[in-house]
């Protein structure tokens, strides 16, 4: 609990900073736009419609889209990083435009035409009309729009975690994936609290505007709050070295600091801790960027925003190299490593286990159907339901398994990976696309089906080092000895320690256990 509370301030500060900058940018875009189109219905309609369309894009999709757009356009032509803050703040800004724009247009149009006519008759210029009449009178409605946008943005900003931006989403994603409900709640409560506090402060400003009092008092509270969050909170958090903060500065020649990435599932959280603890022993500090999207993390390594993470050979083989199935495990590993080397990325070799896709089903079902390998399912598949994670049904592996074994399931269903094993245990689906290193396969008494046609590619777990640290001897001697030491049984046990409902371990504790159990030789 204490650890949760200590880890919160930097997340809260980063979250608040992200939200405020996005809101300020959204105001800076929306207000002039609203002023320009408020008097021109023919322009206002399409402008509001476009803002509305942006709003209908799900938050996570908009963030992912920003990563792709920034990466695809060379950082929008100004070398913006497609990782972390830039895509997050741009997506959130776009997200916040609609309520501010719509309210500003409504507010400006709602100004009594008699007042406007009288003001023009007095001899006000367009600018004076705006400054003395239209903006002050529309201010309460505009402020209400900003409040709406604020609450939305605080919520949507939690989705910035997968694109590499530190925020309260780090607690929410990690909590969800490792079934750490305390952590999940801490993230949710902090986000809700932030939304309520910002809403109250803006509400006070709005009230002051509506009462025609000078809103300085409420504005002062807002400024004080921002200073508190941005200046004081990160220092509180800085006392805790395990706080997941990505350092902003770039290290120079001597490597003293690494940034490590992790994808959004338990095994990644444990392995990132394994790396961090090994580096700490070698005297290198490391920050962790958690819960990154699976393509974001590779782009971040290639782009130098992170220095290391654990990847699986088959993921690069299928997603990045666009290769297909049927290649033996050793060969995939060798070709992937050669492909990486051409990109300046070093692989430290297989950690010793695979985390492959495997179709798994309860032992009782398997025995009833006499199913030992994938081909045995073909006859029964039309009566069975298959569950998979978000990616599975869109991935090449599923297509090739289906083709190779002629599998036509009666029903398919998509689950969050953390819920997949429960779904099959409760009988909501009969078969799941499981991960072979997941401890819950054994814990839930599931059996995995063999793949004699090698339709599923191999997924050797491997530590990748980015160009900045690829040739660093201290980093190498800290991490290289991990190769070949982690068996799939050890990994399953470590995963289960974190994933199980009772007697849960933190990823850090599981990593420490794993390092002891794996007997990793001292490198340095």
């Amino acid at each position: 609990m204490n650890e949760l509370v200590r880890g919160l301030p930097p997340l809260l500060a980063a979250h608040t900073e992200l939200v405020l900058i996005a809101l300020i940018a959204a105001c800076a875009l929306s207000l002039p736009l609203a002023i320009a189109v408020a008097g021109r219905p023919r322009l206002a309609l399409p402008v509001v419609a476009i803002a509305g369309v942006i709003q209908t894009i799900p938050g996570l999709a908009l963030l992912a889209l920003m990563v792709a757009i920034i990466a695809g356009t060379g950082g929008l032509g100004v070398h913006l990083s497609p990782f972390g803050f830039p895509p997050a703040v741009i997506a959130l800004t776009l997200y916040a435009i609609l309520p501010i724009l719509r309210n500003a247009i409504t507010g400006l149009r709602g100004v009594d035409p008699a007042v406007v006519e009288a003001a023009r008759g007095l001899g006000m210029t367009q600018g004076q009309l705006l400054r003395f009449v239209q903006l002050p009178l529309a201010a309460p409605v505009i402020a209400a729009g900003v409040r709406t946008a604020t609450v939305w943005t605080v919520g949507a900003a939690t989705l910035a975690t997968p694109v590499g931006q530190i925020c309260l989403g780090n607690y929410i994603f990690t909590g969800l994936q490792t079934r750490n409900w305390g952590m999940l709640l801490a993230g949710v409560i902090a986000a809700a609290g932030l939304a309520i506090v910002l809403d109250l402060v803006l509400g006070a400003i709005e009230h002051a505007l509506a009462q025609r009092e000078r809103p300085w008092a409420a504005g002062g509270v807002l400024v004080a709050l921002v200073v508190l969050v941005l200046a004081v909170l990160p220092r509180l958090g800085a006392a805790d070295s395990s706080a997941p903060v990505v350092a902003a500065h770039r290290a120079t020649a001597k490597i003293t600091h690494l940034r490590i990435g992790a994808k959004t599932f338990t095994e990644q959280y444990i392995l990132v801790e394994v790396i961090r603890q090994r580096l700490a022993t070698a005297g290198i500090a490391a920050d962790v960027a958690q819960s990154l999207g699976s393509t974001v993390v590779f782009d971040a390594l290639e782009g130098g925003q992170i220095d290391a993470y654990v990847e699986y050979s088959g993921t690069l083989w299928v997603n990045e190299m666009k290769r297909t199935s049927g290649t033996p495990r050793w060969r995939v590993l060798v070709e992937v490593e050669a492909w990486l080397a051409r990109r300046g990325i070093r692989s430290l070799g297989s950690l010793g286990f695979e985390n492959a896709y495997a179709l798994a089903l309860p032992r009782t079902t398997a025995e009833r159907l006499h199913a030992k390998q994938l081909g045995d399912l073909a006859a029964h598949a039309p009566e069975l339901a298959l569950g998979g994670d978000y990616e599975w049904f869109g991935r090449g592996e599923w297509a090739s398994v289906r083709a190779a074994y002629d599998l036509h399931f009666g029903r398919t269903a998509t689950f969050d990976p953390s819920l997949l094993y429960d779904a099959v245990a409760r009988g909501e689906v009969d078969v799941i696309a499981a991960f072979s290193s997941d401890g819950r396969i054994a814990a839930n008494d599931l059996v995995t089906l063999a793949d004699p046609l090698a339709a599923l590619p191999p997924y050797d777990a491997m530590i990748l080092l980015g160009a900045r640290v690829a040739d660093d001897p201290v980093v190498a001697c800290a991490l290289a000895p991990l190769a070949g030491t982690i068996s799939v049984e050890l990994m399953r046990q470590a995963n289960l320690m974190v994933d199980r409902a009772d007697d849960k371990a933190t990823p850090a504790a599981a990593a420490a256990w794993l390092l002891r159990a794996a007997h990793v030789p001292d490198g340095c």
């Binding site: 008699a114 007042v115 009288a118 007095l122």
Partner: protein
Amino acid sequence: MIEFADVSKRFAPETWAVRHVSLEIAAGEFVAVLGESGSGKTTLVKMVNRLVDADEGTLLVAGQDVRASDAVQLRRTIGYVIQQVGLLPHLTIADNIAMVPTLLGWTERAKAARVVELLALIGLPDLGARFPDQLSGGQRQRIGLARALAARPRLMLLDEPFGALDPITRVALQGELRKIHDELALTTVMVTHDLVEALTLADRIAVMYRGELRQVGTAAELVAQPADDYVAKLMGMAKHQAAQLAGVTA
């Protein structure tokens, strides 16, 4: 002071709001522009401070072609009062009255002195710190009048200024307006659809009908020599109403 020479305005190709109007208004005159709604009377008056620009003809104000003058500067020299008053609801009465002086860059001291002067003139000396929504309709219209007078214009335009007021307040304000007009030696053009108001208040009455100026003259001239059937009917209506009223009050 004001000279319309064959002025026309169309809002749509075949819809004339004002059609070939020629009218001269001398300095110090009080002219009522009388007509029913849609007669073009408001459009005619708005051309003077260029809230509407004429399509054809010329319009001189104080000898200057209004089309050649800057609209914003022109408006600051002409007092303008509308039926809805249009006080700025977020400003105090004093700030409302001082708006044109503010736009003209007067000093705070000069503005404050002028506000006191005008509040006294309209008989509401203690209301400077209030906000418009704390005032009655009659008080608001008085403030509208004071605001229009703030920068000492020589010319006042009033568009149905008393149309929304109760009869007692209306009559009181009409009297005050005429008094202010005389005391300050203003030139006043007032749009109205109220026959009695036009006949009792103005030096001359300009009758507008369907965009055209049918007749200009004193009340006596209009009654004695109506130029056409419409004006005759209008004046007949006035006599009829007077007779009815005499019957009721006798």
